[in-house]
Amino acid sequence: MEKTIITVVGKDTTGIIAHVCTYLADNEINILDISQTIVQGYFNMMMIADFAHIQKPFTQIASELNEVGERLGVQVKCQREEIFEKMHRI
């Protein structure tokens, strides 16, 4: 399993989760967990996804997800889970 954190930040509109999830499904990325919150009026969503079966390079998926976000007017980032583990766990 290659856990990756996908974050979506921006103004809330309809279909954000739908669009992002469609892209993930098309690329064989399984979603393990979703949580969301509103911080200072902004929509914040975090997904933990499994990148073990991806066919494209990680960097390409990252930039394509970013494009999906741009079309929706939100910022989409994907980052390896390890970096958060290292930073926040002893």
């Binding site: 954190i5 974050t7 930040v9 967990d33 949580s35 969301q36 919150t37 911080v39 914040n44 975090m46 933990i48 990680f58 960097t59 990252a62 980032k77 994907c78 980052q79 390896r80 889970e81 390890e82 970096i83 958060f84 583990e85 290292k86 930073m87 926040h88």
Partner: protein, 383 residues
Amino acid sequence: MININEVIETNKMVEEETLDVRTITMGINLLDCADSDLDRCCERIYKKITTLARNLVSTGEEISCEIGIPIVNKRVSITPISLVGGSCCKTPADFVKIARTLDKAAKEIGINFMGGYSAIVSKGMSAADELLIRSIPEALACTERICSSVNVGSTKTGINMDAVRLMGEIIRETAEATRERDSLGCAKLVVLCNAPDDNPFMAGAFHGVSEDDAIINVGVSGPGVVHYALKSIRGASFEVLCETIKRTAFKITRVGQYVAQEASRRLGVPFGIIDLSLAPTPAIGDSVADILCEIGLEHAGAPGTTAALALLNDQVKKGGVMASSYVGGLSGAFIPVSEDQGMVDAVLAGALTLEKLEAMTCRSRYDCHSGRHTGFVHQRTDS
């Protein structure tokens, strides 16, 4: 499992608080490139660097993309050239030829800087050391990415005053040789005491003789992150203050540790050390002086500055050591006036004098066992 608040916190550090990995520096041993023939020596140096560090830049960019944290510089440090070129260089011009070769190799692999055009003369100067030192002005004028350093003293041996005197002339000549370009040569030249063998930061980086054939060292920074963290606890006790600095240093160092391990694994080169230095940049919010003010000073340089800096260094180091077993390099706080907007403001306000700066740099030096006070020497020649 990681929760959303931790993810938001990390991304805020990057986006708003200027957290970055300042550099991945590959240290390369060039001693096996030494030859009595200059051309052959240059050829071997070029080949070794371009082979070992071929994928350094692309690997750095790949890791940066995957973790979403910028890795600003990719660099190479090499064995001090006075050792490598000692047997084939008979004049300063011969050393300049090696400098040109190094510059060509640096451009070929796309790195930002290469450090190690250096001489270690803390006790005495060999003929080769002196030739290299005398070649520095021209070498820095005719190359773009080469950094030079000269270690003129150590705690054990004291200071080599002949070398200090010579360096005074060399700094001036370097400034003159690059006068058309704001004397840029001097920005790529450092005079150090107690230079560590594994420092990843420029311009003082070189690959010491006690190191592996090749290693990956990582430099992390983040004065902005510490500043923001302290801002959020304004008015709290010293205990809370220290705890906050430690926690923040821990997190920053962990980022560096991860990057170093990944780079080391992907490049097949052993991991050396993490250097956690609060190194400012001229960007607003990326200032060590701002941290000192947040601790409670009116300005950097005001009464209490030395104590605040000592406290900061101490806590940064404690947090860093907890986060990684391989903390090395200079690790501490870097306080150059010209690269820190808060320090510039303090000078303009008349709060920071040269004497105070000297006291602050000594504080850093004794703490770090390092030559960070060279920033001071450099500034003095600058102004």
